[in-house]
């Protein structure tokens, strides 16, 4: 073996050793965080947590049933509002967007991503709550939906661009109209990445607190319809965590754990549903 080959093997070893070190450190921190939240949250979980409404401090029992339902409702609405804009916008950028207009749209998406969540909340407050003169689930859904857009756009575009040109060209060569080629050939080929991007997006947004403070507001009771204030897990976590009561702190940790579990279940569920469509699984 020549000397330069030895050197290259050494570089190989060191480089991968470094990445291994990064992975160890990151995964270590990750497991620590997840373990911490689980340990603190698990101790406070109980059946009443999932079925009861919040109780004032000092009263035994009490749970966050309305907040769990509220988070689900809000994410559902946000997905309805934000994902079509984000995903279809990303499709446009990937398939038709090599021009100046595409440049500005990408730029705009990144800029929206940098807007602090509280500014997004203030924006939604100004365009939904003030005209309607009420806090509502709708306003919360709008605020969260807007926050979904940048990641959806970016990840959709990037993963569509990764689909090799040969796939597109062969579809067109067979006489399939372009729109069908994109919908039925290109997008399924990128589906795994698209799904990852969308799930990451939804996960991130489900933990947002600040935008909901001025839009969905919060609700001690069950919220009906779309025009009333609604409770959500992140807001409850925030409210309880900054209180002085140990009982509420425990409930805050339990809520954090439940939020994580919701995200976990939806991630797993989505992947299982898409299993048939994704070849690489």
């Amino acid at each position: 073996m020549s000397a330069s080959y030895q050197k290259r093997r050494l570089v190989n070893f060191i480089a991968f050793g470094l990445t291994g070190g990064c992975a160890l450190l990151t995964l270590g921190v990750l497991f620590f965080i997840l373990g911490y939240v689980t340990a603190h949250g698990f101790a406070s979980l109980s059946w009443s947590f999932f079925t009861q409404l919040p109780k004032p401090v000092g009263d035994p029992g009490g749970g966050m049933a309305n907040a769990i339902a509220g988070t689900l409702k809000l994410i559902f609405l946000a997905a309805w509002i934000g994902l079509p804009i984000g995903v279809l916008g990303g499709v446009y950028l990937a398939e038709f967007g090599g021009n100046a207009f595409g440049f500005f749209v990408r730029y705009a998406a990144d800029v929206i991503n940098g807007v602090p969540s509280i500014v997004m909340g203030i924006f939604a407050y100004a365009i939904v709550v003030l005209p309607m003169k009420r806090f509502s689930t709708l306003a919360g859904g709008v605020a969260l939906g807007l926050m979904l857009i940048p990641i959806a756009v970016r990840s959709t575009e990037e993963f569509l661009k990764l689909v090799p040109r040969s796939i597109r060209e062969s579809a067109l060569a067979l006489g399939i109209p372009r729109w069908k080629a994109i919908l039925w050939i290109v997008i399924p080929a990128a589906l795994r990445g698209l799904l990852t991007g969308v799930m990451l997006d939804l996960s991130r947004v489900s933990g947002e607190t600040a935008p909901l403070l001025f839009t969905a507001f919060g609700n001690r009771f069950w919220s009906s319809g779309w025009l009333n204030p609604i409770a959500s897990l992140p807001v409850m976590i925030f409210t309880y965590a900054v209180s002085p009561y140990a009982d509420w702190h425990r409930q805050a940790w339990a809520a954090a754990l439940v939020l994580l579990m919701l995200v976990l279940i939806s991630n797993v569920g989505a992947r299982l549903l898409m299993r048939k469509r994704i070849r690489a699984f």
Partner: protein
Amino acid sequence: MKKLLAVWLVGLLGAGYASADPLLMNGAGATFPYPIYSKWFDEYHKIHPEIQFNYQSIGSGGGIRQISSRTVDFGASDGPMTDQQLKDAPAPLMHFPTVLGGLVRPYHIEGGKTELRFTQKAIAGIFLGSVTRWNDPEIQKANADVKLPDAAIVVVHRSDGSGTSYCWTDFLSKISPQWAQKVGKGTSVNWPVGLGGKGNEGVAGLVEQTPDSIGYVELIYALQNKIAYGSLQNKAGRFVKCSLDSVSAAAAGAARRMPKDFRVSITDAPGESAYPASTFTWLLIYEKQADPAKGKAIVDFLHWMLTEGQGYTKGLGYAPLSPQVVAEEKAAMQRIQL
């Protein structure tokens, strides 16, 4: 694809149903009284299940702004509205005091739970930054029996705007002309020194963890976290420890001079046993109620709050209103038009 679409549509329709609603009243405002308000609204709901009071603590300033924008039915604030704010509101707003609370200064020094006494000059100096070490003569002379360490004081204040800060800076402005001129009072101020902690919990946490630190929090936080908080010199020159009785004593001193609209500051109140850093907290309600059903619900609740409600305060660390104030409030309630 089609399956997804179907799921979405069904979910959208299903989640949007509205059943026969109980009357929902929304309120926003101060964080300080959140525990007692949530207790009250819960108890009231048990008596009147057809009425739901939904209170969210987004901050005193938030409460003032939301009630002024009419996005909520009532507001709550730890600091009374200024004349300018009342003028800016679309219709006349009334203030109704609900409970009393006090602010304490938790601190963290070697030897843990020693009880320190703070003169007015000492406490003002600490927060102004002119008293920088724990063994400064100003602090030491009030605590002759304690050996204070020669360490730099780390001041901790609130980073977020709050009625607690308003009360504390109001107190400092009264006892120190230098503070009043240099910094002033408000929910957020330009603090001369110190770190900012988020929320009462943030300040309590920082003080607990940082050696040689001192901060200010509401009484209940210091009690729950079992942090030492010492006593403060009041207007009469005595060192008083914060307790429900001393806070009530401060309010009693003020009740004699209570203005008609209840907007009064009771910091640095006269009286032997008055605790100097005490405050009322208020509900903000429109004098002319737009919706008769909601107006009646509010008036009924106020009535309950002033009578049975006051019985729940001590258990949660708040001082109840004095009988004179309760009587004056009941009279003022007559002015609410439905």
